[in-house]
Symmetry: C2
Subunit: 703 residues, 2 copies
């Protein structure tokens, strides 16, 4: 050990030469004699279209008043987060999405971009804000009309009306169409009667329901004149000014949850609660005083999905927040991995820095690449959202594309958040389990992101059905035999362009021209062909297998669909991965025009993401003859090489997230570890110099 | 909806006929007209060799005093768990492992079997017990000698001496040999001076350190006569009877953790703390009053590993506890999945039970199979542990095998616990996120199991090195060229039997003879051949690639090893999976002699586990020519079929865990869901009968 201490006085820059230590690895781009990324330029790139708003939000949450306090008991945490919402109002953070006439900024993209950043302060703050302004407020704004806006929007924005969003019921989560709550119109009094007919129809998991909500937007089956017109949304007052429940309204507390305990989730039940006819949010369906129902949308199904679609922003926002939280975990784990040392390498030098280990590179760097992809794809999603909700591109097709894109991306980014945060926590050992180092809190809070605002599997199933529908459009008019022959020859995919954002024909000119890929690997166009080809073929294969269902009995058809359910979800996942990869490539291309060095490193990172995806699905590529066994065998080694190549850039790449110490707050990423090592080294050096250092038993035996 | 309500009055037993509903699925063995398992017999099989002790422990923890209270603030939780330890003492639960002369039972296997069950009550209780009796007490017992036992064991057992286990330091976790704490012998006073020379040498993450510990077993570099004899263990008093710190001892609190907040983890630092020579736990190394060091084990390395090996029981116990916790999560999720309904199937019947969905079967049933395998492999590990620690089979070879087995199994079961609990929580949607339904608490508490008592990756690396060593033994004397030719021809694997518990030649006679496998799938002997062959070839391949390291410089050798690190860990994982599969097969064979029906169902479950493993590594099998693409393509479909076949047995299989309501405690697994559905159905039926049910807008339009 004293030997090591003496040697460790060598300057760290020698570490990457084989003589200076092993495993041999450069720790910085400079040491590797390689182009270095322009960290600030990459920050701009990652923060995307609304970078200005995001920077403002990050500046605001440097105030410790916004930070999560680990271990704070639930009641105090709930009050703290409510106060944070008031603080947010003071900072003007609640009004961006709403129209100018109510004090808003009418800036939808900026609004979500700003909200996403709140996850760095406390995910409870992000989600409770989302409940108030993204769900409760949005329901009034999107599903209501001018009169409702005049009546309530100012109170929503300034938080004088904290509200709950009453969609989910105990008995029905994802299946909103089947909810049991009824809103029966009474023409005599011109009122709706809101009623919970049985326990399973109790509204459940609603933020602001247990304590703070003064009103709720309640989804219920609208019944008038003996006809059920399906699910509509109603504004229902809950509590009086003293916080007492209004007559007929019952609230229960959900109690402790796995995370997000700063939010007062609870249940709401209604016992024949009467509200004025005015309180039907009637943009998509109206009831006249005599009870006559009217709607611009004749189809009940389309009307229902239009109403739900108006609330897509929750998914857009979760995709971004999950991406941010993942970035924070990677920043902490990779910064620590660049400082922490463990085990002598056997080469008789200083202990090895964690990130020099092959396994450590392997476990973290592909996740970094994936997270970069998510930043780019989220910005693309945000832009599409902003286009539709600003009215600039508000067509039915764009709305449908937006919903499909959100349904494809939100599941991937929220699942990736959990697995990445967990891997990051494990990569930091026991330190990763201590709350102050952030991982465990992030994991606990983000856990529910994968099942709320659309259960991830259900969302992917929706995407899968959309892919099938797009596929079927290609063959309108073609007979079954022709279709089957297409699929059998695997040429079906060639005429199916619904898989990604780009057509296959574009690949060669768009990819790989700006910066060279790592030697011997799969080039950009090959990665794209593999990723896109997989989506296309999976969809074509499933379509072929589902074909008999069209002539089967309903029960048999359901059984056929059920047998293909898992694979349809897998196809949708493949589609989402392709979209992420394409967005990443577009991002690299954007910077390539001005900064070849940065583009070079980002191209390696994009390649790592592509190869990581291909490795994940390697068996599929082999079985389907898309990769030879020789080629497939080289994928793993290629990833190893890419990881090794990116290792010196790791710190730059996480620094480019642009987090300030007030966002990070994790002691293990503060440099304390390095300082402790320096202290230990100094101790051993002094001891050695004193001549009083004990000799080792081993060296004694040698004598 | 009213239509559905009317139809739902049909008896549930009709559900599996195609006409009665879709997706068509039998919910019970009876409905499927299939053999049913003998639930009680399977419980006996799962509880294994020490089932009696486990039942006693389960009976004890029916007392709510042992249960975790969700959301309890940390200070109260810590006091509660300390009190639970006293309760455990009263129940005689703390003495099983210790010798009769100190009031013990000298029953090592029973001791661990009983402790594992505590995880059902509160994992903090399990781990704090482990700290006191499994680590602190064991160190005194295993590393000390008679005089130490006489002095302290009674106080350890009756908890008058709560203690901490001081091995890990801030600067060194897994690398124990490099710890910085010193114990310098002073012959003048016949004392050891325990000292923390720098901040990184502070003892870290120790249960009982922050508050309750009166003493600690402290690992330190033993220095006497100017020579460092390496790491030894010392008994160091920490606090006086009033709880005040003794002179020179400093304690810090680790504060809030990701889970296990009922344990007072903290840091300990020593400023020249003097302890009597007596306090060296001197079973493996002694210091005479004049400072002369003696040991029966001449090699410092072997002595160090012998001392660490004496503490293997922590890993054995975590393997079992992780298996139990996983079982609980599966019990809750599968019971709920058998009751909860969501979405109409489109076949116009009642809503579909979750477990009838293809995706739901796919996500949960392979994990059930995996968990069964873990019960069997943990019992095998327990038996090996009991043999060695009882002295019956205490040979160096058996000790080494025990350590390797524990190092192979603990990582798999603890990782599986996290991924299974998470999948189970997601499969229950929002309900899964509410603390009272158990999943989130289990995940939070078990999170650290994957990095403590040996970081999982480090343990697997140890296993990998053992596999390499066993492999090398086969070729002692063979020259390099011969070895290379062996590996190149892939025949090397044939002469390497270190992979599993059984030799390949045994396969045909041992497997598959007792119960038929599902038609068309891979039979037991083929599964074994694939699983064992993979371990063998991976090890042989890595050995070939590592060969140049023996003639390389230390730095180059380290780099070569580093390039193969991730794959070595993967080979070790494959070895662990093989051991689990073999143990599962042995378990099935045991019951096959007396109960063919049960064995039939368990054989399907074992097949599902085997196929699940093969699917996970399908790319490897294809690349290495072990499976044709046609065969590989059928693996997924075969798993689907097995899952469908096991679906009617799912409730029986989780009932066989033998949990009582006091162990489960999750409202969603209580039958409340079914009761709510019945209430909703009754409401709609009454409404329909009244003639006042609203008609749907759709049916109106049809008119």
């Amino acid at each position: 050990m004293t030997d090591a201490a003496v040697r460790s006085k060598k300057p760290a820059t020698n570490k990457h030469t084989p003589a200076g230590g092993a495993p041999a690895a450069a720790h910085t781009a400079e040491e590797a004699h390689e182009p270095r990324i322009d960290v600030d330029a990459v920050t701009d790139l990652l923060l995307g279209t609304w970078s200005q708003t995001r920077r403002e939000a990050r500046e605001m949450i440097k105030d410790p008043a916004f930070w999560r306090i680990d271990g704070q008991p639930m009641p105090e945490h709930r009050e703290r987060v409510l106060n944070q919402l008031h603080l947010l109002v003071e900072h003007g953070g609640s009004r961006r999405a709403f129209p100018e006439e109510y004090g808003g900024l009418n800036d939808n993209g900026a609004n979500l971009a700003g909200f996403m950043e709140l996850v760095l302060a406390d995910p409870s703050l992000q989600i409770k804000s989302g409940v108030q302004w993204g769900l409760f407020g949005s329901a009034i704004f999107q599903l209501g009309t001018r009169k409702h806006h005049d009546e309530w929007l100012r109170g929503v924005i300034d938080l004088t009306i904290p509200g709950a969003f009453g969609m989910t019921e105990i008995g029905h989560g994802s299946d909103v169409a089947a909810i049991g709550t009824t809103a029966t119109y009474d023409p005599d009094t011109e009122e709706f009667v809101i009623h919970t007919p049985f326990r399973a129809a109790t509204k459940e998991y609603l933020g602001n329901a247990a304590l703070h909500g003064k009103a709720a937007t309640v989804f219920a089956q609208l019944i008038t004149g003996g006809v059920n017109y399906g699910v509509h949304c109603f504004f229902v007052p809950l509590r009086d000014d003293e916080g007492g429940m209004l007559p007929g309204v019952t609230s229960e507390d959900d109690g402790v949850k796995g995370g997000l305990n700063g939010i007062d989730n609870g249940r709401l039940a209604f016992d024949h609660v009467r509200i004025p006819r005015f309180n039907l949010l009637d943009r998509y369906g109206q009831v006249a005083s005599d009870g006559t129902y009217t709607s611009d949308i004749a189809s009940p199904g389309r009307r229902f999905f239009t109403m739900l679609g108006a609330l897509v922003q929750g998914r857009v926002s979760l995709d971004g927040a999950a991406t941010e939280a993942t970035a924070l975990a990677l920043y902490i784990a990779l910064t620590y991995a660049n400082q922490r040392r463990q085990f002598d390498s056997g080469a008789g030098t200083d202990e090895v820095v964690l990130l020099d280990y092959g396994k450590h590179q392997r476990r973290l760097l592909p996740l970094l690449a994936q997270n970069y992809a998510q930043f780019f794809s989220n910005d693309e999603l945000l832009r599409k959202f902003d286009g539709v909700f600003s009215g600039r591109t508000d067509t039915p097709e764009e709305r449908e594309d937006l919903e499909t894109l959100a349904a494809a991306l939100k599941p991937l980014s929220t699942w990736n958040a959990l697995s990445t945060i967990q891997e990051a926590r494990e990569a930091c050992g026991g330190s990763g389990f201590i709350a102050e180092n952030r991982f465990v809190g992030l994991h606990q809070d983000l856990d529910v992101y994968v099942t709320f605002e659309g259960d991830n599997n259900i969302l992917l199933q929706l995407v899968g059905k959309r892919l099938l529908a797009d596929f079927a459009k290609q063959f309108k008019g073609a007979d079954a035999a022709k279709l089957a022959s297409f699929a059998a020859k695997q040429t079906a995919g060639r005429v199916f362009h619904g898989a990604g954002l780009r057509r296959l024909g574009q690949a060669v000119t768009d990819f790989g021209s700006t910066a060279r890929s790592v030697e011997l690997g799969l080039r950009a166009e090959q990665q794209h062909e593999l990723l896109a080809g997989r989506v296309e073929q999976m969809v074509a294969d499933i379509a072929t297998r589902l074909r008999p269902a069209s002539k089967a009995s309903p029960a048999e058809a359901a059984a056929i669909f059920n047998a293909n359910q898992a694979e349809l979800i897998e196809a949708a996942r493949a589609h989402g991965e392709l979209l992420q990869w394409e967005a990443f490539s577009d991002g690299v291309n954007r910077i390539a025009e001005t900064d070849a060095d940065t583009a070079q490193v980002l191209t390696w990172l994009r390649d790592l993401f592509g190869m990581h995806l291909i490795e994940k699905h390697l068996a599929w590529y082999l079985i389907n003859g898309r990769l030879s066994t020789q080629r497939a065998a080289s994928v793993s080694r290629y990833i190893d090489r890419l990881a090794l190549r990116l290792r010196p850039h790791a710190q730059d790449l996480v620094d480019a997230y642009g987090f300030a110490p007030e966002h990070v707050r994790a002691p293990i990423a503060s440099g304390a570890e390095r300082a402790r090592q320096d202290e230990a080294r100094a101790y051993y050096a002094t001891l050695a110099a004193s001549g009083e250092a004990p000799v080792s038993e081993k060296s004694l035996k040698k004598k």
